[in-house]
């Protein structure tokens, strides 16, 4: 476990940079986390995905995988990769302050 400072607040993150406590996340932290992931500007489309990820996490206890995101978020998988080139589910989860989506085992 380590810590990171976003928006002037120190938060605990795991070895891969995912929030240990999603409750500590605020919208104001998102642009800074995104920059560290190589996304300079969060557009309306980015936010659509980030908010969707968070809502799904709060409802179901896990963020969706890319495939489920493509089926349910209203954004196609191709567009999702344009928005989050390093992997939509992982990157969007990180920016949304939720744990790494529980991919299947």
């Amino acid at each position: 476990m380590s810590s990171a400072i976003y928006g002037g607040t120190t938060v605990e993150v795991n070895d891969e940079g995912f929030f240990e406590d999603p409750g500590k996340w605020t919208e104001a932290m998102a642009p800074e986390i995104a920059k560290a992931q190589g996304i300079d500007v969060l557009t309306e489309h980015h936010w659509q995905v980030i908010k969707f990820m968070r809502a799904e996490y709060i409802e179901k206890g896990s963020g969706p995988t890319v495939r489920v995101l493509g089926k349910t978020s209203g954004v196609s998988i191709k567009e999702l990769y344009q928005l989050f080139p390093k992997g939509p589910a992982k990157t969007a989860a990180k920016i949304a302050g939720i744990p790494k989506p529980r991919g299947c085992i």
């Binding site: 969706p64 890319v66 089926k71 991919g103 299947c104």
Partner: protein
Amino acid sequence: MTLLALCYVTQDGIMAKRIVILGGGTGGTLSANRLRRLCPGNDVEIVVVDQNDDHVYQPGLLFVPFGLTHSTEIVRSRRHQLHKGIEFRLVPVERVDIQSDIVHLGDGTELSYDALVVASGSVLVEEETEGLTGPGWMEKVFTFYDVGGAAALHDALEGFDGGRLVVNVVDMPIKCPVAPLEFCFLADWFFQRVGIRDRVELTYVTPLDGAFTKPVAAKALAGLLEEKGVALVTEFNTGEVDGSAGRLISYDGREVGFDLAVVVPLHGGASYVARSPGLGDELGFVPVDEHTLQSMAKPNVFAIGDAAGVPTSKAGSVTHFEGEILVENVRRFLAGEPLDGSFDGHTNCFIETGFGKALLIDFNYDTEPLPGHFPTSVGLPLLKESRLNHLGKLMFQPLYWHSLLPGHDLPGVGTAMPTQGKHIQSVP
């Protein structure tokens, strides 16, 4: 609801409760047989529904392409695996109305139930990947995940005289996540045997960030790939299969070229699940409590095996371990008793590595596959190649038909994951 609404009058004039099981594969068959034994009286009616009568021994599919078994040797009648006193209906399912407790069947008839067990496994959804079933499909792009594909791939491997062979998992979840790795190991053995290994470039292309999901096993399996000269491409999310040009293209624009591609297509739940409001999730799997296997949507609905949306592997061993708890919970539900929440996600897989050897892994929801021995310190070696594990894998086929499906416990193999014999301290 009145008691009368829950009962049926059988031909003998007895008020009975009806358990409907959708699917006559591993989970459906072992559940039906165990339930019949658990509820031997004629006050419980058990009906199994399936759209065909072909029960495939799925672990055998891996051996078909390499000529180690024949497709006809791994298929038997579903009906014949079911014990006396179980009704088998050969008909597709149209949809389930979970609010009214009714299954609508493809022949226009209806089947009402007191308890429903969804055991219809997972299906391959090749069409969800662009180009996969386009030019080159079944010519230089194959899957071994169904009987027809495995048999066709056998012919293709026999005729392959060298070049780039890629094994690609499109995305998780898939049945038996170790099978594509086993395919790589066996391909290495197969091409050495026919004397052209030096002319074959083997590559394993996976959406995961390693050879496998769990760290300790991923490391061991990556080591084996390297040892056998199989290249590993990770975090590759296949967006398109271009059969005519021979290339896999990922969503982020990377390409892997091939002369022969063995693709594990996307999986989903049975198609009727999507036509049954409230029953399944986005992929057609049935969300259930991971310890009791009871549906989140309706208390008289349960799911077992690949059909169940639980965070563990889609594998026959999981289905087997779930079986004991599922049938007990169906019985308890019908008797109005509290459910047994003891399913721990136990999974146990033999991993064939070629040259008459195999690895064994054993894990559950909380404990990843570890080295040591199974089920005790004097048992089969874990996470280590051995001839004993290979023999174990071969021995499993007769046990499947004669012990597992009839619903008997396997000697020395319990439902809960054993910890004795495991090197717990070796977790990094």
